[in-house]
């Protein structure tokens, strides 16, 4: 292993202030920006802690209204136990209440129907209340039928009084940790580190542009070192520089923004593989093209492509079918790390490791070949 070459190339990479800024401060800025911009959009799908419902009862028949109100009171109590809070308002107030977000949704009960008013982003709350009301409505209807029956059969009333009511804990709700969604900060905190891991190849530009500008490549070519040593002398420092820079970014993201990384050793392992892939792909690109600028642009375009293909987690942000998404390594990397964060494990991990390993092997082989060809005069 050409340790002195690695050490000095690493020094060159880490000494460059612009790259240090690009790799540490910029991801943090992007994280914060995207998290705040997309917070509401992601928040739409996150767990709803409570639902505030305004309601008004407008039944013409007073006796019926009274009867309904008595039953509805039980419904209100039951809802409260499940974090759905109902508060009565005047019927005419509903638009105003919804516009001012004083309530999530509004229920209007009339003789003929129950109408739930809500904005487009309250679909889930509407569905939940709808479901609860459907059960309530069935219950009311069942009570009506029972009442009519008991009126006709009074001897059955005594039996009814002796019947024990079911335990109110008979119906329960449990929260399952199935596909929990991350917060916007966690999500963007993780994927921005992933994107900037790929951008780590830009560290190589410092060494390679200097070697080309000063014809240092000739000096290296004449030296009695193997092509593998020269290759490792570039890849290893790039990997180390990227790992150091991302380590700083990760640490700061946790301290400043509370980004939650799950299954830390495994996450770090994935990120290290990513840094290696970035280094090997970087060397390939820098030797595939004569111009350092063209190599960087090509790397950037490649990164945007794999990002758009499969990098985004939320389904509604892209329209590619899943088999196309799976062509992107980002599909696996992002999902693995986000699921480590939200669930502590991920079914995408093996696909992620395989995909990255294949990238490393192919880009190493091609990179060495291209570097060898390029360094010949």
């Amino acid at each position: 292993m050409p340790w002195v070459l690695i050490k000095n190339n690493l020094k060159l990479m880490l000494k460059n202030k612009w790259i240090l800024f690009f790799m540490t401060a910029l991801p943090l800025m992007v994280m914060a920006l995207l998290a705040s911009v997309f917070e509401d959009m992601l928040g739409k799908d996150t767990a709803i802690e409570k639902i505030a419902v305004g309601y008004a009862i407008h039944i013409e028949n007073e006796e019926e209204e009274q009867s309904f109100r008595e039953a509805f009171e039980t419904f209100v109590e039951g809802c409260e136990e499940n974090d759905i809070y109902l508060q009565e308002y005047e019927a005419t107030e509903y638009k105003d209440l919804l516009e001012k977000k004083a309530t999530d949704i509004f229920l209007l009960v009339t003789d003929k129907e129950m109408i739930i008013y809500g904005s487009e982003d309250k679909k889930i709350e509407t569905m939940v209340l709808n479901s609860a009301l459907a059960s309530f409505d069935k219950m009311i209807h069942s009570v009506k039928v029972l009442k009519e029956y008991l009126t006709e059969n009074p001897e059955k009333v005594q039996n009814l009084k002796e019947t024990q009511l079911p335990d109110k804990d008979y119906i329960k709700a449990e929260r399952l940790a199935v596909n929990p969604l991350p917060s916007a900060m966690d999500y963007y905190g993780i994927i921005e580190v992933v994107y900037f891991a790929w951008a780590g190849m830009v560290s190589l530009s410092v060494v390679i542009s200097n070697e080309r500008k000063n014809k240092i490549e000739n000096r290296l070519q004449i030296a009695p070192v193997s092509k593998l040593s020269l290759y490792l002398g570039k890849v290893v420092p790039c990997v180390l520089a990227t790992a150091v820079e991302l380590g700083i970014t990760m640490g700061l993201s946790i301290m400043l923004f509370g980004v939650h990384w799950g299954k830390i050793p495994a996450s770090l392992g994935i990120l290290l593989l990513l840094c290696i892939a970035s280094g090997t792909v970087g060397v390939l690109l820098f030797y595939l093209f004569k111009s350092v600028v063209v190599s960087i642009v090509a790397g950037y375009l490649g990164l945007m492509t794999i990002g758009f293909l499969g990098g985004t987690f939320n389904m509604y942000m892209y329209a590619y079918p899943e088999h196309v998404q799976k062509l992107s390594v980002q599909y696996y990397v992002n999902r693995t790390l986000v699921e480590y964060s939200t669930m502590g494990d991920s079914a995408y991990a093996s696909g992620c490791i395989t995909f990255l390993t294949v990238i490393i092997l192919i880009s190493t082989t091609l990179g060495m070949f291209v570097m060898n060809k390029r360094m010949e005069v």
Binding site: P2, W3, V4, L5, N8, K11, L12, K15, N16, N210, N214, K215, I216, N218, R219, L220, Q221, I222, A223, P224, V225, S226, E376, V377
Partner: protein, 260 residues
Amino acid sequence: MEETVLKLQGLTKKYDNKPVVDHISMEIKKGEIFGLLGPNGAGKSTTMNMICALTKPTAGSVRIFSKEMNTVLNTRQIRRRIGYIPQDIAIHGNLKAWENVELFTSLYGLKGKELKDAVGEALEFVGLSEHRNDYAKNFSGGMKRRLNIACALGHNPELLFFDEPTVGIDPQSRNFILKKIKYINSQGATVIYTSHYMEEIEAICTRIAIMDNGKIIAVGTKEELVSLVTDDLSANMSLEEVFLTLTGKKLRDYAEGDKA
């Protein structure tokens, strides 16, 4: 009989089927300072590149220390014994002087204390010990040239290639470098030296080859070259006059490769 350090036989390089170096054959003995002189586009740099295995010859052979660089083992063995000082200042500006020398010397297999000592000696040899912790980008042109040389000396090469090592530097630095080259040679190293400066070639080279149009048109000591152009040895012809007589006074505006 002095050992042959470098032997070229029929060395040829063609670009687009046109020869830039055309069937060059010559031998360089151990202990010589051999000058390679020629106008722009003569083929000097291409010849140097082929000798150093930076570029593959189209035809012919290069034998260094009686070996051809045709196997990986041979190539590495030969390269450990040669040093190359390029015309361009091939150093990292953002590394310190000692870091540059350490980096390039380490490529020749030196490690640990041996490497550290070699770095110190090389910097002292070129007069940069006091500036070992300064960044190369802050050096003057002369200092950069000296550092450029130090980076090739650390591993004590037996055969050194100097490709126009004094371009763009002040006379004091040039004088210093020439003295050092003579000293290295006196310690047993063989030197191949290219330059446009006739007085340099005249001052230090024991034998000179004049190249033009990819061919060696004359080889010998200065006296032997003078005798090629005049019978009057007392005329005290300068090397420049010999050179211009042999190559002509027409301007050469093209670089190698362009000519092909």
